[in-house]
């Protein structure tokens, strides 16, 4: 038995011996806090009614809610019609229906009847499995990419950037693209698929020769650039070849596309095209070369200075004017070009913000290591800069996603365009038709945009390394 132990034992013995009645041996249990300080009441006192001003504010807010909530809930749920086959289901007595006079509510069966059109536009019925498969493939790639704990990130990204776009293109259009020659005059060889490939080989050879002469002319070793060129042209050739193979799918032209599918196609293509373009423009704007810098600044400021709708007008009216006679573009493709150029300018400014946020020491360190410009950008600067601007990129994407609705003004039948088109159907024509469909459309857009914003918030917190 140690010394201290024996002492404690002695104290206990003494205390036990004394046994004074009015000395407590245990602490008193703490009383619960007064009801006005904890629980619902305390919370309300603290957050809603502390002081006359806050009380007034609370009452005002409750009045505001009283004005808005019952109306919205009654319209969308309690007074809404949930089943029916035509406009009579959603009309009151004065309009020839069975509902009481002055009835106001959403007409959901109309949404149900038009649901297919709202999602897929006028895509032919027997081929509907194709866009559905594209949706599935898209989310099959997207979801593993978004959840951080799922492995094989690299493979997923290759799938999303390389394989999926090609597969989606073939599934949606039907593939089997016919090519014509573009180089040799018709006298030597008639236009045919074969001529295209001959032309393609000749073009590759010309490009390689040009590369070779430029590099040799400056005392360089031309082997590596030529091999790189060949690989690029080869990959492009494979992609072009696959797009030309006949898989037995019916051709579905883009005027038959529409609905939410088209909204997604425009948004995803727009973002995929604008990200690399935006990075290039941002680098150009920060370049030391005056001509490159000037061109980038002019490009960015021009597109950022004009409204998207004039850009769309331009791409639908002016683009055909600027192209050689006989070359025509698909209407959807023209809108896509406009959207991509427009959002590239915004993306460029977002990326530039990230580039400027990287401390100078990072650039100097990279240069001191002897890295070339592209190595420095690829391995040191861009990974850090892009990580910083993820919220900005997501914001740009959300903006782009919402702005796709503008294509309905130039006559494409995207989600909103399809909804506006459905209003001309007299089968469902009622006073509540417009607002019902708009509520549905707004709900879908809200789900997607709010979800993206929340996800970007989450990623921002996850990627935050804490040092800045």
């Amino acid at each position: 038995m140690s010394d201290t132990d024996s002492q404690t034992a002695l104290h206990r013995a003494e205390a036990g011996a004394l046994e004074i009645a009015y000395v407590r041996e245990q602490l008193v249990e703490p009383l619960p806090a007064p009801a006005s300080e904890v629980g619902v009441i305390g919370w309300m006192r603290k957050n809603l009614f502390n002081g006359w001003f806050n009380t007034l504010l609370t009452l005002f807010a409750l009045w505001l809610l009283y004005l808005i909530l019952p109306g919205v809930l009654n319209f969308t749920i309690f007074n809404a019609v949930w089943s029916g086959t035509d406009r009579l289901a959603c009309s009151d007595i004065n309009q020839g229906g069975e509902l009481y006079e002055g009835w106001k509510g959403a007409c959901w069966p109309y949404i149900g009847a038009y649901f297919k059109q709202f999602i897929f536009g006028r895509y032919p019925d027997p081929e509907l499995w194709r866009p559905i498969l594209v949706f599935i493939l898209f989310f099959a790639g997207l979801i593993p990419m978004l959840i951080p704990s799922v492995p094989f990130k690299r493979e997923t990204i290759i799938y999303m950037l390389g394989i999926f776009p090609l597969v989606a293109f073939i599934l949606l259009t039907g593939g089997n693209i016919g090519y014509n020659g573009f180089l040799l005059p018709g006298a030597i060889m008639a236009d045919s698929e074969l001529k295209f490939w001959v032309d393609y080989l000749i073009l590759t050879a010309i490009i390689c020769a040009v590369v070779h002469f430029i590099v040799r002319g400056m005392d360089g070793d031309s082997r590596r650039p030529i091999i790189l060129t060949l690989i690029c042209m080869g990959l492009l050739g494979v992609v072009l070849f696959i797009a030309s193979v006949d898989f037995g799918l019916t051709f579905v032209e883009t005027p038959q596309w529409g609905g939410f599918m088209m909204t997604l196609v425009i948004a995803v293509t727009g973002i995929a095209a604008s990200l690399p373009l935006g990075i290039a423009l941002a680098l150009g704007r920060r370049s030391d070369m005056p001509v490159v810098k000037l061109l980038s600044v002019v490009f960015i400021e021009f597109w950022r200075g004009v409204p998207l709708i004039t850009v769309l007008f331009m791409s639908s009216v002016l683009l055909p004017l600027f192209l050689p006679d006989g070359v025509t573009f698909d209407k959807l493709l023209r809108a896509l070009i406009g959207v991509a150029l427009f959002s590239a300018a915004y993306m460029a400014e977002v990326v530039r913000g990230g580039l400027q946020a990287i401390p100078k020491g990072q650039y100097e360190g990279a240069m001191a290591l002897g890295l070339s410009y592209w190595q420095m950008m690829q391995k040191i600067i861009l990974p850090q800069a892009l990580k910083i601007v993820i919220p900005g990129i997501v914001n740009t994407f959300i903006g782009l996603f919402k702005d796709t609705t503008l294509v309905s003004i130039i006559g494409l039948l995207d989600f909103l365009g399809m909804i506006n088109l459905s209003h001309s159907d007299s089968l469902w024509a009622t006073p509540v038709q417009a607002i019902t469909s708009y509520i549905f459309c707004a709900f879908i857009f809200f789900l997607f945009c709010y979800g993206m914003a929340r996800y970007s918030n989450y990623m921002e917190r996850r990627l935050d390394t804490g040092h800045r």
Partner: protein, 400 residues
């Protein structure tokens, strides 16, 4: 021996580098190639456009601006416009309508945005939550859709002209728009305007004098109240002295709709509400970020210096918050102006709708009209960003 070899190369002598690896040469080549490519592209575009236009039989040039437009417009508050007016007038009417929408939209968006932004930071839970959901709902729904909701979903379902909703002094509201009271100016009304200007000018001079006096003696002058009194009081005085020359003509409900007053078309109302509430959601976030950006120590330090909450807010917190708020705020104003071009979707006669829409379809002068339209918007943007840069430079933190 090897040491000797090294020493034969003096430091001044540049090492021999392959020409391609010389950054200057490389940069020159890249830039020349880019320039040639751009020039080639522009040349081709212009060339193709010339060929295509000649084929369509459209003479290029700006002569069409002097031709009569031949279509009517239902909204032109300040510029005289009839069907015989020229396309040049159409341009000015469009610009006028765009600017009216932009100015009024900016005004309301700022008020709503600041209120909601402050409300989001309120310690009152219900108010903060309402503000949060206002922002999240409004900014996550496409603006075009919101315009349609107000236009086709709300305003179009209002009762017809015969049974308008009486909004009291605001006017009569029905599906054909708002019939607002119309101000009627009698002789001498211009005095009120001049008195207003004089009030602003006098306030400015008093402000300068008060600042000088405070710098010299430390005495403060109640400049805000004096200014308010002058700017509001002088026009009121002029109004009374000239014998109340301004009156309002109220619309009266009649059998065939309200008579009198001035009609505000529903397209304008829908756009105005949609643009201001949508932009307000973004402004609210900017305001919130600006207030949060001011370090808590700043308010604590100003209290420690003995400033009361009012002056602390006015002299310490708000100037610092504004430094963060103003630049993104200006770009939101710009966005609102550009977004007002969505008017084309519901046929409010703004620049895009009447000039890049109707006039373009009638004349076919696509290149000239789109160029003019885009350059106009671009000029508005550049002017605003020039102002923003100037303001930024003025307000920027001056460090050591």
């Amino acid at each position: 021996m090897s040491g000797e070899v090294v020493s034969t190369h003096s430091i001044d002598e540049k090492p021999k580098v392959a020409l391609l690896n010389n950054p200057k040469v490389r940069g020159g080549i890249v830039q020349a190639a880019l320039l040639i490519f751009i020039i080639w592209l522009i040349y081709n575009m212009v060339n193709n456009a010339a060929i295509n236009l000649a084929k369509a039989g459209i003479a290029s040039g700006f002569d069409f601006l002097n031709r009569a437009a031949g279509f009517g417009l239902n909204f032109s508050p300040f510029i005289e416009y009839t069907e015989t007016s020229t396309y040049g007038t159409v341009y000015w009417v469009g610009l006028q309508n765009t600017l009216i929408l932009a100015v009024l939209g900016v005004f309301f968006a700022t008020i709503i945005g600041f209120l909601v932004g402050v409300a989001r930071l309120s310690s009152n839970w219900v108010i903060a939550k309402i503000a949060y959901w206002y922002v999240e709902i409004l900014r996550n729904i496409p603006l075009l859709l919101q315009i349609f909701i107000w236009y086709k979903g709300v305003l179009a379902t209002l009762p017809g002209k015969r049974d308008s909703i009486d909004l009291g002094f605001v006017g009569q509201l029905n599906a054909a728009g708002l019939y607002a009271p119309k101000p009627v100016f009698a002789a001498g009304a211009s005095w009120i305007f001049w008195a207003f200007l004089a009030g602003i000018a006098i306030t400015w001079f008093i402000g300068r004098w008060a600042h000088k006096r405070q710098m010299a003696t430390g005495q403060q002058f109640p400049i805000f109240l004096t200014g308010l009194g002058l700017i509001l009081g002088l026009p009121l005085l002029a109004y009374l002295l000239t014998g109340m020359p301004v009156s309002f003509e109220y619309p009266v409900a009649g059998n065939f709709g309200p008579r009198g007053g001035m009609q505000v078309i529903p397209e304008f109302i829908a756009l105005w509400i949609a643009l201001s509430t949508y932009t307000a959601a973004f402004i609210a976030e900017i305001v919130r970020a600006g207030i949060l950006a001011v370090n808590k120590g700043q308010s604590e330090a100003s209290y420690a210096l003995g400033l009361r909450p009012g002056p602390a807010l006015r002299l310490v917190i708000i100037p610092q918050a504004l430094r963060v708020i103003i630049p993104p705020l200006t770009s939101q104003y710009l966005n609102l102006t550009k977004n007002s071009s969505l008017a084309v979707a519901i046929a409010y006669p703004d620049l895009t709708a009447v000039f890049a829409g109707t006039a373009l379809n009638q004349t076919g002068q696509a290149v000239e009209i789109l160029l003019m339209t885009m350059l106009t918007y671009l000029a508005l943007s550049l002017i605003t960003s020039m102002f923003m840069n100037w303001y930024n430079a003025k307000m920027a933190l001056v460090e050591r």
